[in-house]
């Protein structure tokens, strides 16, 4: 033994080397302690007490101190400590309350030296004086601390904590006479070893038991304590009152805490429950551990830095019966895995973005800083000159808001609110919706509406008033939907219309020059010219030509036509009369002429669209001649709705579905429709468009949808006269037999929207109440209540 000691002493001067390694123990460990030469470690537990030497590659068992045929309870260790001045001196705390010292220098196999049986219950902790060779301190479950002089047979002094169990005792490293003790009731006491009668100082450090404490190796005033409340606190004991310097929040109760050598702000912790890992914290960044060791499979019970001046080697013992040496450079760093960015797409297209400030700064550092000048609010850095620690991190939070023009979801809200879905003839609905879409700059959608009008407002389906108008539209619009693929193929087959076909070719070239909106307009043109296609006369064609110009927004023509456009019903009967007397054979000629006529009337821009309409005309004519019903297009319409839904514009799909109703419903399976409805209603509710959402629910034909607003809506109403709850029988009060829904302003029964104050039950017509509240905030019924309406 002597020889071994010498060898290891010689080692202690050199640099420590080693690797992350572990060895299996025979039994769970309760505590470990390192010899001052940093080459040996003692492991103690309920049924283990061994000394291992720490070699380059492995642990080697050197000595088993647990000898004797019948192991006594004295060998069941709760704690072990190796004297930091004498390599041969060890002390253990036994679970039966005995404090045992061991002398490795004894020649016999049994190294047991002295036995102190003064504590009545388990001794939780033993501690040697850092500089005095013979002074040993113990803390026990029975609430007493005892100081032993190893040269005597019994304790020198006994300290009573006046409370429950002592969990830890630690001599101050700097103050010769001072030691700290921690208690199960959350207190920490500071004692002068010369004054056993009462403690120097006491304060409550934790909520619940304080399991451990550790004096800072350099800062004489700093004491770290760890408790069951999952916190590690660092106290400055030099001030008059213990001052909490730092507070580290861990994820489990703290069983051990050890300051890291040579790193002023680092400490290592382990837990006695749930969490098997060992963490190293920088107390200045109290939320994220600086390093994490994940080797153990069960609770870590003992940790010790291998050498008091080497920060990179940590030893640990665990309930999983293993002893580990951890290298700091092999530790996993939770900071590295911590997500430095947050991102969220908002409803209105805004993006919320939080990023680590250093990341953002690094980004902008790469290029000239002009970006920041343009947006002065951008990632404003919190400048904190007092910030001494580079590891501290903070984030910049900003919300990128869509500029109104930049594709925010405003169009969705506008569209939802302005679309007309019911209550008017189909053609008008389509026109109206097309207009809404165009005004919002959504030309494709506008064109789709126009096409739909043309397709479905056919003679069989619409009032005769709209007859030729709609027919013309139907044919032209169906064609673009079909991608104009068979325009050429079909037209030649029609024989007599070859001439038109040619003109179509011209029109093509012309329309190619037009922008998308112009092409939209040409469709409108088409519809009229086609109207002439169907038996009509010049007059009709002209009149519609003017309407076309209105679509083209030609100011000269548009204004005079406006009244007619606003009140289309007036125009229709007129046409109707004309329609009835058309000379059939002339229609070809009509078509040939009509572009010229309109061209002469309008300026050059309208000419091209006319031509294009012309070309389309011929085909439409053919379709009409062969009596293609609107059903012919239903496949196309269905595909179109699918297309919109796939594009994410479920609004369009549902709107068309509602507007067209039976015409298209049968072609789309129930489940898809239901999905569209639910998606659209969900979107509407997100934007808080409750009214639109309710309208959509009402107009839907799907059972699953229409039942949505018939469920789980209950209003509890009080009678406005007798103030008693109304029964479910409607609007006559059971008790006073008067109508409950009288308007408090005009004293008439309210039918329709009834608004009332939930405080006094009085209310009335929405308009009346609103008007009343402009003048007074008191109840119009005169009850004196200060009404509140949300």
């Amino acid at each position: 033994m002597e020889k071994m000691s010498r060898v290891t002493t010689a080692l202690s001067g050199s640099m420590l080397t080693g690797r992350t390694m572990h060895c299996h123990l025979d039994a769970p460990a309760n505590a470990i302690s390192v010899c001052r030469d940093a080459a040996q470690v003692v492991v103690a537990g309920r049924s283990i007490f061994k000394i291992y030497s720490i070699e380059e590659e492995q642990f080697v068992e050197k000595l088993n101190l647990r000898v004797g045929r019948k192991p006594s309870l004295n060998l069941s260790c709760a704690d072990v400590v190796w004297h930091q001045m004498d390599e041969n001196l060890l002390a253990t705390a036994a679970t039966n309350g005995v404090v045992v010292t061991w002398n490795l220098g004894r020649p016999s196999r049994n190294k047991q030296d002295q036995l102190f049986t003064e504590h009545k219950r388990t001794v939780n902790k033993v501690c040697f004086h850092p500089t005095e060779a013979h002074v040993l301190l113990s803390g026990s479950q029975d609430g007493f601390m005892k100081c032993f002089d190893l040269r005597r047979k019994d304790s020198v002094s006994t300290f009573s904590g006046q409370s429950e169990s002592v969990r830890d005792v630690q001599f101050s490293i700097r103050d010769y006479f001072t030691f700290a003790s921690t208690f199960e009731n959350g207190n920490v006491q500071l004692w002068d070893i010369r004054r056993p009668d009462r403690c120097e100082r006491m304060f409550t450090a934790h909520n619940g038991p304080v399991f451990c404490c550790d004096w800072h190796p350099e800062d004489r005033g700093w004491l770290a304590t760890g408790g069951r409340d999952k916190m590690v606190k660092v106290w400055d004991m030099t001030t008059h009152r213990a001052k909490e310097m730092h507070c580290v929040q861990t994820i489990a109760s703290v069983a051990r805490v050890k300051w890291r050598p040579e790193c002023r702000h680092h400490l290592a912790t382990c837990s006695m429950m749930v969490d098997h890992n060992i963490y190293v914290w920088d107390v200045r960044r109290p939320f994220v551990p600086a390093a994490m060791f994940e080797e153990h499979r069960d609770v870590t019970t003992g940790i010790a830095w291998r050498h008091p001046h080497d920060p990179s080697f940590l030893l640990s013992g665990s309930k999983d019966s293993s002893l580990c040496q951890h290298l700091f450079r092999d530790a996993s760093q939770p900071v590295e895995r911590a997500n430095p960015e947050g991102l969220c797409y908002g409803l209105f297209g805004d993006l919320a973005f939080a990023a680590k400030e250093s990341l953002v700064a690094a980004e902008s550092g790469r290029k000239p800083y002009s970006g920041d000048r343009r947006h002065p609010m951008f990632f404003k850095r919190k400048l904190d000159p007092a910030e001494p620690f580079a590891g501290l991190a903070s984030s910049a939070l900003s919300v990128f808001e869509m500029e109104p023009a930049g594709g925010s979801m405003g169009w969705f809200v506008d569209t939802a609110e302005r679309y007309a879905l019911t209550g008017r003839p189909l053609a008008e609905l389509c026109d109206h919706n097309a207009k809404v879409a165009r005004e919002l700059g959504r030309n494709q959608v506008a064109q789709t509406w126009t096409m739909l009008r043309i397709i479905y407002c056919s003679p069989g389906l619409v009032p005769s008033a709209n007859l030729n108008h709609s027919v013309g539209k139907g044919s032209t619009c169906g064609l673009p939907l079909m991608n104009s693929f068979n325009l050429k193929d079909m037209a030649p087959g029609l024989g007599s219309e070859t001439r038109l076909d040619r003109s179509k070719g011209d029109a093509r070239s012309d329309t190619a020059l037009l922008d998308s909106s112009a092409t939209l307009l040409t469709n409108e043109d088409n519809e009229e010219t086609e109207g002439s296609d169907v038996p009509t006369d010049y007059l009709l064609g002209d009149a519609e030509g003017e309407e076309d110009e209105l679509y083209l927004l030609d100011p000269e023509h548009a204004h005079p036509e406006e009244p007619e456009y606003v009140l289309p019903q007036e125009a229709f009967p007129l046409r109707h009369e004309i329609v009835d007397t058309p000379p059939g054979p002339e229609h070809l000629q009509d078509k040939a002429d009509s572009p010229h006529v309109s061209g002469s009337e309008a300026d050059a821009t309208s000419l091209a669209p006319m031509d294009s309409s012309f070309s389309l005309l011929s085909v439409s004519h053919a379709l009409y001649d062969s009596r293609l019903p609107p059903d012919f297009f239903s496949v196309l319409v269905r595909d179109m709705l699918r297309f919109y839904a796939e594009q994410g514009d479920v609004q369009m799909a549902v709107s068309v579905l509602i507007v067209l109703g039976e015409r298209v419903r049968k072609d789309i399976d129930e489940q898809t429709q239901e999905h569209w409805y639910t998606s659209y209603i969900d979107l509407l509710q997100r934007f808080r468009l409750w009214n639109v959402s309710n309208e959509v629910v009402k107009l839907s034909t799907s059972r699953a949808i229409s039942c949505l607003n018939q469920a789980s809506t209950t209003l509890h109403v009080n009678c406005s006269h007798c103030k008693r709850p109304m029964s479910s029988r409607g609007w006559v009060c059971d008790r006073c037999h008067r109508c409950a829904s009288m308007c408090a302003v005009c004293h008439h029964v309210v039918k329709g929207l009834f608004v009332w104050c939930q405080g006094c039950s009085h209310g009335g017509h929405l308009q009346h109440i609103m008007k009343w509240l402009e003048g007074s905030s008191h109840c119009p019924a005169g009850c004196g209540h200060l009404c509140e309406y949300s």
Partner: protein, 313 residues
């Protein structure tokens, strides 16, 4: 096209997540300082903190809102290996007077053995469900059978994803015709592993069959698309509200936007830089080569084939 509004968040450590609520007028942030803050948008468009409280005993990685139909409910997940569900308490109190609201913990989900890295509520039509993913690569699906009782959650499914998961996101599309999709991002930083962004699809029909036959209920998952453009850890994935655009952000400091074209090929459609500066993305977009529709053999193959994603409706 964006205007930036900077907010003094006053978190004491890194902010790990930001989350808008259903209506886009509330925002929640969570941080390593173990707290969650709730922000309400005022009429003028400013964001005001209306609640801030300690939620976990470790870094809070994510915070997410439930559909308002279930109340004002938040879920958070943390380094402390738990996820928690929070509900805002309505009622008069001192907090109210100060313009602060009060949140109480309804449940703690403790199944994970490692850090829970993300938590997300499922689309409303699936009921009150939430998914968590953890650092050991396990995605867990919980369900509250009674929507009025937020304190009872049962673990429905555990899916092993093999890669350490950093983020998860349900596709918000509420279609019953095609399966729900979950996008999962990985913070695995080894270069040769699988793609860092994956879109999984869950086949409900198959699950029903399995259930009726008495077998274990399992999510039938197949990969719809995967991307590796970030060339680094992916921190975050997020869908737009129509479920057509997926945004992902990575350790390269950029946000990438993904969209499926008419052929269901997912392509990068835009790149945003963290400081708001535009990226001339044309060259970078040229590099994007998302590998599409490839099934990973270790996962259950769907009966529907590989690229059955959104077109199924």
């Amino acid at each position: 096209m964006f205007v930036a509004r900077s907010i003094a968040a006053d978190h004491k450590d890194l902010i790990h997540d930001v989350s808008f609520d259903f209506h886009g007028r509330r925002m929640a942030t969570c941080s390593s300082d173990q707290s969650v803050k709730v922000w309400d948008k005022s009429e003028s468009g400013d964001w005001h903190c209306t609640a801030s409280w300690k939620t976990h005993s470790g870094s809070v990685w994510r915070v997410t809102w439930a559909h308002p139909e279930f109340g004002q409910v938040l879920a958070s997940c943390s380094f402390d290996r738990t996820a928690a569900v929070w509900e805002e308490i309505v009622g008069e109190s001192n907090d109210k007077l100060r313009g602060q609201s009060h949140w109480v913990k309804r449940t703690t989900l403790v199944d994970s053995r490692t850090s829970v890295t993300d938590v997300k509520f499922a689309p409303k039509h699936m009921g009150l469900m939430l998914a968590t993913c953890s650092a050991d690569g396990i995605v867990r699906i919980y369900e509250a059978p009674d929507v009025m009782n937020l304190s009872q959650w049962s673990l429905q499914h555990e899916i092993s994803c093999k890669l350490s998961c950093s983020c998860i996101s349900w596709n918000p599309s509420s279609s019953r015709a095609h399966s729900p999709m979950i996008a999962v991002g990985s913070d695995d930083n080894s270069p040769n592993t699988m793609a860092k962004v994956q879109i999984f699809e869950y086949n409900e029909n198959t699950r029903k069959e399995l259930t009726s036959s008495g077998g274990p209920t399992k999510f039938e998952i197949h990969i719809v698309a995967q991307f590796d453009n970030h060339n680094s850890q992916v921190w975050r994935v997020s869908w737009n509200i129509t479920g057509t655009v997926l945004a992902s952000s990575g350790d390269d400091g950029c946000v990438r936007l993904w969209k499926a074209n008419y052929m269901d090929n997912w392509k990068c459609t835009g790149i945003l830089k963290g400081n708001g500066s535009p990226v001339n993305g044309s060259s970078q977009q040229g590099n994007s080569n998302p590998s599409l529709g490839s099934n990973i053999p270790s996962l259950h193959n769907s009966l529907n084939g590989s690229s059955a994603g959104r077109k199924q409706s």
